[in-house]
Amino acid sequence: MKSNMTSEPKPDMKSDRKPGIKQESKPAPTDPILKIDGLSKAFGGVTALKDVSFDVFPGDVLGIIGPNGSGKTTIVNSITGFIKPGSGRIYFKGKNITGRPPHKIADLGVTRTFQIMRPYHSLPAYKNLVIPLFSPRAKRTGGWRGGGRLGNRQTIAIDILEEIGFERDSYIPFKKTSTLPTGYLKRLELARCLALKPEIIICDEVFSGLSMSEIASMVPLIERLQDEGITIVMIEHRLRELFQVANRVMVLNFGEKLIEGSPSEVMADERVKAAYFGSEEVEEVMTYA
């Protein structure tokens, strides 16, 4: 069990995970890497977020769940600068990044995927990764696994694609993204974040639209990213897989934070059951856990 879950009284559901994957403990974090303080946002008369505050600690996998329209994507858009929050502050490593333009925030290492995949559809898959490698951050860091010096961009792009699950010795990395199936495009979204050597990846429903087997192959990938020290915030509807990887879960309902805690705490909460799960599904997930 990880030591940054010190507040947890009960053993969490992750203890039954396969040994050898990620059992090593990390040093107890003191400062949050990402601090959201009193975030509110209204679109016209619709309140999307109302005074939401939470912290993300280094090495965390924070799951954010909630019914449709509960403000999950608005949180992502606010953190990454795609919309300006109505009020509230967002701190990255203690620095206020509220309202900065998206490319500046990505330059700090706060990256995101899009719920509706946004590939460059007229370019082949590997060229999709050459683009982020032109960013100032990639130049500084050398891309994922890069040692500070950027080598040949196309080689790095193909390397990243291979690690993320594109078959290297096939023509798939060279196919136009408009012809690729959803599974590859979701991976491409993650790969675009990785090309920047990110500190945080905010995944907006990476599992949605995937088949069960595709999700099953994505889960180890997320775990591997966490092992590499990348902090992950996951917005997800696939609870089963989310509870497998997340060490903390936050529940949103109508733009308000309902509860935040370990997966087992969250599932035990009556309000969450009422707002989101429906008793049947909770039982199913609990049995699985």
Partner: protein, 337 residues
């Protein structure tokens, strides 16, 4: 059927491999299959001044080239960056006036004013267009349409740079021969330069911005910077064309901000084939001479001109270039089995 033991075969059979745009060349014959169209285009353009009769039509060639540069810049902005610009007249006018001012006030010779006008004009146009860069599609088009009108009215109202009379007595190129080859060389350099540039990895960033600007932002790249760079490239080309126009007519005036310079390049791009870069040049080679031939019909000219355009849009909406390319790739030959 020539013989029982032979069959038809596409010429590009065996050259074109599975991935688009990659060719496996095995012989001079296959190499020439690929390079011949380019060679014909270059040779044809260079031979053009010798092929046409008389001073009048030689002047038309220069005008064709000026429109071709504008159309190229439009095609680059619209189909490789995603900014539909109606600012052709703005670029021409700015470049034309800068060349005129440099020549008539400071006595700078034409072969220096043209590159200077391209540089200064590019910077001026980019800075003025900077506030519009967040706009997309038709909104950018509408705003860019306003710029030439704005500039013309400013010059008229404040009576600067000769006011409505314009700047006169500007030096011409040293000879008509120099003039034609200068503009032809520029067209060819820009055509092959941009074709090359948009396929480099850095050039692909522009395509990426067109495809999905949000994803480019999320990749930590400032899209405003790259859009500004693209506008600079396009407006520098347009200003260069405008500077040439000033020296050809030995005059620069408000009519250089006329909307013809915004509209005709777009028509040429539609006819020639959008996104092909060669298409706009071919479109200009057709449209400008046709427009000259129709001068005898007086005002009916516009009616003929419009019918040609509508005909193209109805029957060849993908443009001459896309059609020609398809036919060229479908060429067949008889081979022994």
């Amino acid at each position: 059927m020539k013989d029982q033991a032979s069959r038809k075969e596409r010429i590009d059979r065996g050259i074109k491999v599975r991935t688009d745009g990659l060719y496996a060349l095995m012989s001079w014959r296959e190499l020439s299959y690929l390079t011949l169209p380019r060679f014909i285009l270059i040779a044809g353009m260079l031979a053009l001044p010798f092929l046409v009769p008389g001073m009048y039509w030689q002047r038309v060639i220069s005008i064709v080239c000026i429109y071709a540069i504008l159309a190229l810049s439009f095609d680059f902005l619209a189909h490789y960056v995603g900014l539909v610009s109606l600012g052709g007249a703005f670029f021409i006018g700015t470049g034309g006036y800068i060349a005129g001012i440099l020549n008539s006030y400071f006595g700078v010779p034409p072969f220096l004013t043209v590159p200077l006008a391209a540089l200064i004009g590019g910077v001026v146009c980019t800075v003025l267009l900077l506030p519009c860069l967040p706009l997309k599609g038709v909104y950018f088009a509408i705003v860019t349409l306003m710029y030439p009108l704005f500039m013309a009215r400013i010059i008229e109202a404040f009576d600067i740079f000769g006011g409505t009379d314009g700047l006169t007595g500007i030096d011409s190129f040293s000879s008509s021969f120099a003039e034609q080859y200068f503009v032809i060389a520029m067209v060819l350099v820009f055509l092959f330069g941009i074709r090359r540039f948009v396929t480099t990895d850095r050039g692909l960033i522009f395509t990426a911005i067109m495809d999905n600007d949000q994803a480019v932002k999320a990749s930590g790249i400032s899209i405003t910077r790259y859009k500004a760079l693209a506008v600079f490239i396009a407006s520098a080309m347009g200003c260069m064309a405008g500077a040439c126009l000033t020296h050809i007519y030995m005059w620069s005036g408000i009519s250089q901000f006329a909307l013809d310079f915004s509209i005709l390049p777009i028509a040429a791009t539609v006819i020639g084939g959008a996104g092909t870069l060669v298409g706009p040049l071919i479109g200009c080679l057709i449209l400008v001479p046709v427009s000259e031939l129709l001068r005898d019909f007086g005002t009916l000219r516009i009616a003929f001109y419009a019918s040609i355009l509508v005909g193209f849009i109805l029957f060849r909406s993908d443009g001459i270039m896309a059609f020609g390319q398809r036919k060229y790739e479908q060429f067949e030959r008889w081979t022994q089995i």
